[in-house]
């Protein structure tokens, strides 16, 4: 049971969620909790760093879809970084690159937030 973990780092006005392991219908609620907490704290400039994510199914993709509008309405965004080729493929198959900003690494995503502050 390799599991799934969410950890978080706050930088000034930006928050980064780090996902690791397997994100499926069983573990998606953990990721939902993480986003919900950020919204409650009004920390809506979010980067989700997927460096250590080994797997994602549509249940995981659904979490991104379910929160993005509310976050954007509040002036925030979810930007993605550090996708492995395998995980990127799944996002790509479903057309996510047209809807989400996806960056090679966290710094690029942070820079983007700073430019548009």
């Amino acid at each position: 049971m390799s599991g799934f973990e969410v950890s978080r780092n706050d930088y000034d006005h930006i928050s980064v969620l780090y996902l690791s392991g397997f994100l499926d219908a069983h573990t998606a609620p953990k990721f939902e909790d993480g986003l919900q907490k950020l919204i409650k704290e009004e920390r809506v400039k979010i980067i989700v760093n997927l460096k250590n994510l080994d797997y994602i199914s549509s249940a995981g993709l659904g979490v991104f879809m379910g929160f993005i509008e509310e976050i954007r309405e509040k002036g925030g965004d979810i930007k993605l970084s550090n996708l492995s080729p395998k995980v990127f493929k799944v996002f790509d198959l479903l057309g996510f690159p047209a809807l989400y900003e996806i960056y090679e690494d966290e710094i690029q995503a942070k820079t983007k937030y700073s430019e548009t502050k």
């Binding site: 499926d24 199914s57 993005i68 509008e69 479903l94």
Partner: protein, 146 residues
């Protein structure tokens, strides 16, 4: 013509999302045994995850006392996975191809699973007999020219 040698496997497990990982590993291992490269074996186990997730969620409505039956049959040319439930069934022809930008506005979180299954596999077929036996069969060819 010589008939192709077929290898058959079956697994039955409680309808719970915490079994998805085990099912993915099981199917992935058989896909590799059948001759699929790692990347395509990943696609097969993702499609199976989606189909099982749908059964757990929609057919069995998270009732963990229900069981899921999954059969894997492979030969030199293809792998087939058949997943059976006894739920109420649904009409897959009524599903529309998901429109992501519309989804965002509706804050809708679903509708991606079947689309993914169809994208990842070469054939996806549903047959229904509500309350008795609903099945989805998914096939992927070993030598599919992409």
């Amino acid at each position: 013509m010589k008939k192709l040698r077929k290898y058959r496997y079956k697994i039955r497990f409680p309808s719970r999302t915490d079994n998805l990982e085990m099912v993915r590993d099981f199917v992935h291992g058989l896909a590799v045994k059948a001759g699929f490269v790692e990347e395509r074996a990943d696609q097969i186990s993702l499609a199976v995850d989606e189909a099982c997730t749908n059964v757990i969620k929609h057919a069995h409505k998270f009732n963990a006392r229900r069981m899921i039956d999954l059969a894997v049959i492979y030969d030199k040319s293809q792998i087939e996975i058949i997943i059976t439930d006894k739920g109420k069934g649904f009409d897959p022809r009524k599903l529309q191809k998901p429109d992501l930008s519309k989804y965002i506005h509706e804050a809708k979180m679903g509708g991606l699973g079947i689309h993914l299954m169809k994208t990842l596999m070469d054939e996806v077929n549903y047959t229904f007999n509500p309350g008795v036996k609903n099945q989805v069969s998914m096939v992927k060819y070993i030598n599919h020219q992409q």
